[in-house]
């Protein structure tokens, strides 16, 4: 088998760097790890074929340091760069620079990254291809008069959102007309401060939606398939904690219908590589909120139910290969759940960096662990607190929950506190077991747990 690429630079760290490295190894592609000085002993560095130190601990000067990453690619002779998630993965300028250096960027075109990076242009694009939107303003709302008119038309409560927003910043709710002006003003101020761009738009506020997203993959030859949905409603402060595929709330018909709209639309847009469309889902209606033009943290649940290696597909497609299968070839077998295990106190969510003295991952049938931890590793305080993803797969959702219970009980991480106990509490909850939750459920669950 000829190599798809001669050498892959992985511009990331932690479990996702290791995830990409594993896919490259299985494809026979040598890998280059880049790392900060704080990560010299990290697993992604130890297991790579080559490694290059690209800066001091601060992510701004290392994992976000475009010149150093591009120089690392140049000096090692890498002909492709996989950005993972976070860091530079949705930076259109970086994608452009990579391609300008004659290196393949494992992801969509910079134009599509840019289009989806701005929430207003993303919504406009989605409206154009028939993807259902949350009712709201037709693009930016420039003054209070326009805001009042839109809110009156779609009905309260409404949400003021920054065009450049993300992670919950630049987002305010107005429950009625008397709250609109303050919400509008505060959202703009926050957006200006956080993103240097105070453009805002208005959407209907849904009071009990689920967060359901759809995984798509598109090749350079106009073929697009979807790999079904993930239910990521269990969030705390806009951070996902536990994800499922498929959603306990969706029927196969609903999935197929949404999938058809999405894949046809993205084909029209000429989209390429992996992408995820995020929706709010309430009362049987989908409403697009944003599109992520990269691999998602929670991609493994999709891999388990579809039997596909999404990173391998990303790399193949970036090398120009066709998908080689149609939507009708995509199967959904059983149910998968992922628990994101972070180095955080399970009650207070205070970060708990430090030395891991014992690390013993669960094993056996239907259990997958994606983690860059090892016994003796010191979790540095500089980066995201995600240290392991525990994924289970079983024929049915109740069996998947039973398997997750068993696997969480086997998982030994000693030396730092983790969110394992929180996950153990979640999966024992009757509402969770019934699949009866919205995006607000976890905040209340955590608050209730802290009270008693």
């Amino acid at each position: 088998m000829p190599r798809l690429f001669q050498k892959m630079l992985i511009a990331n760290r932690g479990e996702i760097a290791l995830r990409i490295q594993r896919a490259c190894r299985e494809l026979g592609i040598p890998t280059v790890a880049v790392h900060s000085t704080a990560d010299a002993q990290a697993m992604h560095v130890r297991l790579a074929d080559e490694s290059v130190c690209i800066g001091p601990p601060s992510a701004r000067d290392s994992y976000l340091n475009m010149p150093n990453i591009l120089s690392a690619a140049a000096v090692t002779g890498a002909d492709a760069i996989h950005p993972g998630y976070g860091f530079l993965s949705e930076n259109a300028n970086f994608a452009e620079m990579v391609e300008a250096h004659g290196i393949t960027f494992i992801g969509p075109s910079s134009a599509h990254i840019r289009m989806m990076g701005d929430k207003i242009s993303a919504k406009t694009a989605m409206a154009g291809i028939g993807v259902p939107l949350v009712p709201g303003s037709d693009g930016e709302v420039v003054d209070m008069d326009a805001a009042r008119a839109v809110a009156a038309q779609i009905g309260y409560p409404v949400l003021i959102k920054a065009a450049a927003g993300g992670g919950g910043r630049g987002m305010k709710v107005a429950l009625g007309p008397d709250e609109l002006e303050e919400a509008w003003t505060v959202a703009r101020t926050e957006a200006r401060t956080a993103f240097g761009n105070d453009a805002v738009y208005i959407e209907k506020y849904l009071d009990r939606p689920r967060h359901i997203e759809m995984q798509v993959m598109a090749d350079a030859h106009g073929h697009v398939v979807h790999f079904g949905e993930r239910d990521c409603s269990l969030q705390r402060r806009h951070q996902k904690l536990l994800e499922e595929a498929g959603s306990p709330a969706l029927t196969p018909d609903e999935r197929d219908a949404l999938g058809a709209v999405v894949t046809q639309g993205l084909s029209k847009l000429g989209y390429r590589n992996a992408g995820t469309l995020e929706f709010l889902y309430q009362d049987g209606q989908f409403a697009f909120i944003e599109m992520n033009t990269r691999l998602q943290v929670e991609h493994p649940v999709t891999e388990m139910v579809c039997g596909v290696d999404l990173v391998r597909e990303q790399i193949r497609i970036a090398a120009g290969e066709p998908l080689g299968y149609a939507q009708s070839d995509v199967r959904f077998e059983g149910h998968a759940i992922e628990c994101r295990i972070t180095a955080e106190d399970p009650e207070t969510f205070a970060p708990t960096p430090g030395k891991v003295s014992v690390f013993h991952a669960p094993g056996g049938l239907g259990v997958r662990v994606d983690s860059a931890l090892y016994a003796g590793y010191v979790v540095p305080p500089y980066y995201d607190s995600l240290v392991a993803k525990l994924i289970v797969h079983a024929p049915t959702r109740p069996e998947a929950i039973a398997r997750m219970r068993r696997a969480l009980a086997e998982f030994a991480v000693v030396g730092i506190r983790t969110t394992i106990p929180l996950h153990q509490r979640i999966i024992e909850d009757a509402e969770f077991q019934a699949g009866d939750y919205t995006i607000h459920w976890l905040e209340r669950f955590v608050a209730a747990g802290r009270d008693h």
């Binding site: 000085t37 002993q41 697993m43 130890r46 297991l47 290059v52 130190c53 690209i54 800066g55 001091p56 290392s62 010149p67 150093n68 990453i69 591009l70 120089s71 690392a72 140049a74 000096v75 090692t76 090892y374 003796g376 590793y377």
Partner: protein, 152 residues
Amino acid sequence: MSMSFDPEAVRALATILVDTGLTEIEFEGKEGRIRVVRALPTVAAAPVTVPVAAVAAPVAAAPVAAAPLDDPARHPGVVLSPMVGVAYLSPEPGAAPFVTVGQPVSAGQTLLLIEAMKTFNQIKAPKSGVLARILVQAGAPVEYDEPLMIVE
């Protein structure tokens, strides 16, 4: 059981042990066997290291403290690379190098170039002194924090 031994022999062994800095001596003769052991106070404080199975084994590597004493990265006069790129020791191919070993250098003087993103970055002496060592070769790739030269 009555046992006799030669205290002088043991003392002699002990003295040898301490003098030589060994940690254990075992002696076995026709008459028997003597073994003397000394735990070094420093040994106990050393981090536990484990044998490494293979390149791929995710086990704790030798700690930084175990680096050789002449590790240039720990030299007080070391000049570390501030970026990833390719080192050049002269302003253009064929030209004389910026500096040579043994030469006095003054703070701010250009020591070498690092090419990154098609631009040549001048790396300057952080202090005045004598150029003691050149640690990179012309045309070699360098990573962030890599020792480039030593000014003493």
